[in-house]
């Protein structure tokens, strides 16, 4: 087997190992299905409830993506501002840290009071959870531009916008994509939490209803759906990252690590 093939197979093998361990655990300790269902029961639940899972999964995906897109736009703009101005950095960054330390689940009831139960609190929670990594990474990219590059650009009479456009944005792309991969998974966390607390649709709502009926296999089926959606979105951004920032990867061994989360 070539190393390349090994690399491609590795995530599937680890998934299978995890499922086997899950199954073995249940067998060894003889755990009842309403406590922890087996992988097979979970799979059956996915098949049995495929229509509601699909419909609510799409609803969660839409909610998540709306919140996520808003977070990306807002995060990028704020990241550019915070990264290019020391004053903005010292003024805004501590606030952002404080904001990010607030447990977002605690905000859901507040959103419900403001907007009523439903989709909007979920969008807001997805947004709140996912914008910070974008801000932090874009700001870092902008703040770490080599001073010599500023000298080159300034001595050519470049405007601030020239520097942002020609250097800041292209330079921040690898950081930006790395942050998108973290952000999109966090956005799922946000929307599902809000759906559990105060949703009338979405995967979170399915989980809430299923667990109140002691339908634990369905709860796990819903968890699997969220996981698959998250991995899917991650893979999409990973693909774009590889295409758009090939210059930063070189031989494929060095990759920008995103911060935040």
């Amino acid at each position: 087997m070539t190393p390349k093939l090994q690399e491609r197979l590795a995530p599937w093998v680890t998934t299978l190992v995890l499922i086997a361990a899950w199954w073995l655990f249940i067998r060894l300790f003889d755990i009842k299905s309403f406590i922890l269902p087996t992988p097979w029961e979970t799979l059956q639940a996915i098949y049995k409830f495929r229509y509601p899972l699909f419909v609510h999964g799409m609803s969660t995906l839409a909610t998540t993506l709306i919140g996520f897109v808003a977070a990306v736009v807002f995060g990028m703009a704020l990241g550019i501002l915070v990264g290019s101005s020391r004053l903005a950095y010292s003024g805004i960054y501590p606030l952002l840290i404080g904001f990010n330390s607030v447990p977002k689940a605690a905000l859901v009831p507040v959103f419900v009071i403001w907007f009523g139960a439903g989709t909007i609190p979920a969008v807001c929670t997805a947004f709140m959870l996912s914008f910070f990594p974008v801000v932090a990474n874009v700001a870092t990219a902008f703040a770490t531009i080599e001073p010599e590059l500023f000298e080159v650009m300034n001595s050519l009479g470049a405007t601030r916008w020239d520097i942002t456009r020609k250097i800041g944005i292209p330079r921040s792309l690898p950081f930006f994509f790395a942050s998108l991969k973290i952000s999109v998974t966090l956005a799922f966390v946000g929307s599902v939490i809000a759906e559990i607390v105060a949703g009338n649709s979405g995967i979170g709502n399915v989980m809430l209803v299923a667990s109140s009926n002691f339908n634990v296999p369905l709860v796990f089926a819903a968890l699997v759906v969220v996981g698959v959606l998250g991995v899917g979105m991650y893979a999409i951004f990973d693909f774009f990252e590889r295409r758009m920032t090939a210059w930063s990867i070189r031989g494929g061994d060095a990759q920008v690590q995103a911060i935040g989360g």
């Binding site: 010599e148 000298e151 080159v152 001595s155 050519l156 009479g157 020239d162 292209p170 930063s248």
Partner: protein, 265 residues
């Protein structure tokens, strides 16, 4: 009237600081005149304010006292007719070499507004320069595919593409090995005779200064003052052979002597 003139220039870093300890006098009463088309070198111990002198001339920093005049006008903001090159090549890693060289044409007028119309002309100008420094055929490569010396050659092209009247070089060859460095001396000498712009080279390599420059200024340790000015009248084009001749060696020795004098408090 000289092309560039520094008159009694002081520069204090951290001038706004209240306590004297965080204020640093980087350059002290520097006076310097540079003629059109002159190749001038500034040498001195490290940290003596050589690079600061370049920033003063380019208008990136304003003097705390005294005036800097370029082409009859006092420098109050960054000049737009300057090319710069540094010890690090500072090429943009997401652009290929040709696009890196063409960066100034996207910023400086009149090229900027003619970018779309003159695209082919600009590409050609970049390729001509790349050929001059021995990089023909490397235009489509990415910076990381080039060695340090080749990146420095590309950086020189970027500094010259918009035909600046002043070229400011801040230890451009300091990070290279001796052989590559000596090769690039010849490249730079060629470029200068081809473009005839005013070159100010900051270096701590005395042989480099004597090989390349018409005039060498020696600066003292911080706060930097100009201690001595030597005129180098070795005929051009100079070759590596010249650097072994007694006249050349004497000049280097003399400069070294003045630098060690300047180090003593």
């Amino acid at each position: 009237m000289p092309f560039i003139e520094l008159a009694n220039v002081d520069l204090v870093y951290g001038a706004a600081a209240q306590d004297a300890a965080s204020r640093t006098l980087a350059v002290s009463s520097a006076s310097l005149t540079i003629e059109h088309g002159e190749f001038l070198a500034i040498v001195g111990p490290s940290g003596c304010g050589k690079s600061t002198l370049l920033k003063l001339i380019s208008g990136l920093v304003r003097p705390s006292r005294g005036t800097v005049t370029v082409d009859g006008k006092e420098v109050l903001q960054p000049l737009k007719t300057v090319g710069m090159a540094f010890q690090n090549a500072t090429l943009l890693p997401w652009r290929n070499i040709r696009d890196n060289v063409m960066l100034p044409l996207e910023i400086v007028e009149p090229y900027r507004s003619r970018q779309k119309i003159d695209r082919d002309k600009h590409r050609e100008a970049a390729d001509v320069l790349l050929e001059k420094v021995g990089l023909s055929g490397f235009g489509d490569r990415m910076p990381w595919q080039l060695s340090g010396g080749m990146q420095q050659r590309a950086q020189l092209c970027r500094a010259l593409i918009h035909e600046p009247s002043i070229l400011l070089l801040d230890e451009p060859f300091a990070a290279l090995d001796t052989f590559t460095r000596e090769e690039l001396w010849a490249v730079l000498q060629d470029l200068w005779s081809f473009r005839k712009c005013t070159v100010i080279l900051v270096t701590h390599e005395l042989r480099e200064a004597v090989y390349l420059a018409q005039t060498v200024h020696v600066m003292s340790a911080r706060p930097g003052r100009i201690l001595k000015t030597s005129v180098i009248d070795i005929p051009r084009p100079r070759t590596l052979e010249c650097t072994f001749e007694p006249g050349f060696v004497d000049l280097v020795h003399d400069l070294r002597h003045h630098i060690s004098l300047g180090k003593q408090p």
